[in-house]
Subunit: 446 residues, 2 copies
């Protein structure tokens, strides 16, 4: 094989002359790789002086990697990622399994069962996209939309805008259904949009984490059926933390992220398609503009259909993130979905009460629009929000976030996600926020 390697280089050099593209740098480098791949003293001895010199000309290794990695343990009370439980952390450090091993298939089947429970659906096409929540958005739109298709997109913060950008990139025709940042969109406004534009897809953000708004969904699915439109929902920042019933609410496609309420590390996007969405995907006229996200292929590796149809290799997924997601779903299942909803509702109620007692105001005016999992708080007059956020991070290793997109500079954002939705964590972040505000008022130095 070593002779083979040398042969490769030599043949390449001959070919190279043949094609008149000789480059002394390339020749030298090619030779210089010989001893690197060579354990025979003899050949090293017989190398040219130039080759010996060039050995040392491989780009030097970076010194920064000689330092120890620095990963402090922080309390993540921003809009995500959230902290993961010891059980989930432990799971992600298991040794790798092959993506086609029986144990991996078992874990994937358990994940599918857990996700059907969290989405409250019986959809066979309930699986995981091998990328962050953002890839879930891409997976839904790239599978459902064809060039020119009209998609009505609710916009009351950053994420609706992002979906419009993506729809444009895919050659679809997005129609913005705009609402003031900090408010939800009413059923009347939605029905007017459906009647006027007759879109193929309605896309709503259940949890607008940039503004802290929760979009009511009850009844929307029925409107979409009435107007022969697919109902797609982004639940990245809400799923598991608030009631969601995919089947009863007639949601045709939904996705979320692993790193929010579910409490796994970021990097996976759970997704589900109902029968009407599957039909649309199966009857497309144009090719799906992705291979990794092509549900016709991915659902075979996940065996979402007839269990007698064997799985076929599609891609190599992040298996140790699967371990973590499986354990996060197991913890959620043990606690029980209704109890997890209740815990997040109680934590949010405690946080909101504490915010008021600090003399602060919530950004979302209508109580019924407030997202329990991500709370937005108005930055008080004369306070530099950056100094407050910085104080919490530097003095307490606690993350809270500033605004995002349309709320930058206007709000603080506090997340209550997964294992951080507890009275103790709420009290810790309230105490730290109190100190941070005092620090910012005093204009002190960190």
């Amino acid at each position: 094989m070593l002779k083979g390697f040398v042969g490769t280089v030599q043949r390449a050099l001959i070919n190279q002359r043949k094609c008149y593209a000789s480059s002394s740098a390339v020749l030298a480098r090619a030779y210089s790789t010989r001893p690197a791949a060579d354990n025979r003293r003899l050949e090293i001895d017989t190398m040219s002086q130039e080759a010996n010199r060039k050995i040392n000309s491989v780009f030097a290794p970076p010194s920064v990697l000689a330092n120890p990695m620095n990963v402090p343990v922080k309390l993540l009370m921003g809009p995500g990622p959230t902290n993961v439980s010891p059980r989930v952390m432990q799971a992600s450090s298991n040794q790798m399994l092959g993506h086609m091993h029986a144990e991996t298939f078992q874990i994937m089947d358990e994940i599918k069962a857990g996700l059907r429970y969290v989405f409250q659906t019986s959809n066979p096409w309930t699986l995981v996209v091998s990328g962050p929540g953002h890839l879930g958005m891409e997976a839904v739109l790239v599978n459902l939309l064809e060039p020119g298709d009209k998609v009505l997109i609710g916009i009351n913060g950053l994420w609706g805008k992002r979906a419009v950008d993506l729809a444009n990139k895919l050659g679809a025709s997005p129609i913005p259904l705009e609402q003031e940042t900090g408010k939800s969109i009413s059923l009347d406004e939605i029905e007017q949009g459906l009647s006027k534009h007759k879109p193929k897809v309605l896309f709503l953000i259940h949890s607008e984490s940039s503004s802290g708004v929760m979009q009511p969904l009850v009844g929307v699915g029925d409107l979409c059926r009435k107007h022969d439109c697919l109902f797609v929902v982004d639940t990245v920042a809400s799923l598991g933390g608030v009631p969601f019933f995919m089947d009863d609410w007639n949601v045709d496609a939904v996705y979320t992220g692993s790193q929010k309420v579910i409490g796994a590390p970021p990097g996976l996007s759970p997704i589900s398609f109902g029968p009407r969405a599957v039909e649309v995907i199966k009857t497309r006229k144009t090719l799906i503009k992705s291979y990794l996200l092509d549900m016709n292929e991915l659902t075979i590796q996940w065996q979402c259909g007839d269990p007698s149809i064997p799985r076929i290799y599609h891609h190599t997924p992040p298996v140790n993130l699967f371990y973590a997601l499986r354990e996060a779903l197991a913890e959620l299942t043990e606690e029980g979905l209704e109890n997890v909803w209740k815990r997040h509702a109680q934590a949010a109620a405690r946080l909101h009460a504490g915010i008021h007692s600090l003399g602060l105001k919530l950004f979302v005016q209508d109580e019924s629009d407030r997202l329990p999992t991500v709370t937005t708080i108005l930055v008080p007059e004369g306070i530099d929000w950056k100094r407050v956020v910085q104080f919490l991070m530097e003095k307490h290793l606690i993350e809270i976030a500033g605004g995002l997109g349309p709320t930058v500079g206007k709000v603080f954002r506090i997340g209550l996600l997964g294992c951080n939705a507890t009275p103790e964590k709420v009290d810790r972040v309230l105490q730290a926020l109190k100190e941070g505000l005092e620090f910012a008022k005093l204009q002190g130095h960190l």
Copy 2:
């Protein structure tokens, strides 16, 4: 907030009547979520009988998740994922950090430095795509190709075919440059293809893991410059295990996977774009058909340009996979790239010698075409390859693979990747393979 939640449901119900889409199931379900999100005994007492009944109608939790997760420790001697070192396993179990924290940026910068070293490039656009190697292929093609663009794709196994499929999905015009499975493509054949078709991009698979062929690359970049064509290379199964010099070989874009020689878990795709590729991306006429993969956006979060330009949030990446990749690159850097190349070459030489002494034949005839990291072995006459693979897995917890795509049923595939490219691992897999072949000959029962 609880009142708010109830208000949401009630308003939804009112709206629902307004839109004539009343569904008793939806009403009941909506009510049934009240106590779930409600911690006040009073309200629970005042609920309707129906609501109390419906509480229990939330889809039941899946029992499979009550079982312990089963992740046996195996020796992964297939074409990947490979085993990860204890240091890398430990790294991936660190607590989460936010994607915009200083420590995360530090880790991302260290990863960029490590990747420039492994790719042997000084390209500023050297970063990581938040998905498996397959997403790296999509990232390269979706950024470089516009509708109708001609891309010449070398095909001598599965991966070239996959790239053709993807190019078609993206609306480009792939031109297959076909070669017999098990053989590499010569510089003459490449130049003929370039002269005849004048493609915008030449796409070659450096390491065709389905056939065990390594494509010689020296001189190809010069041909591409001569024919004003971008040179794109897939190094998923080879990078780090064999010499590769992105800059000296005039490679314009390259990607790999985290789970092969680099020795991190799967789920990340290191990628690098040279100046000519960046220019093509910057001067596109059409939008890039992805948001997550849009290098104009992603390179800002990775701060691939001027370090004085602040990072902007793009998406939430898999931070604990970053920890693992950072540590894997640190281990590789400590050992030294030339030493890692040499270790893989020596392990392959030892494996190939052992294969011959077992009376087996390698699938790739030309020594100089053999890929050190993935070895393909002809399945002997009268041997059921599945029984051999099954024997190794069940009796030794050792993974070797059968063929893939065009080599299914014809070959065994043994990978020597990262920490498994050692004489000890080679001897273990050879001994197990010997026993597996004897078992298959004897037609014994497992």
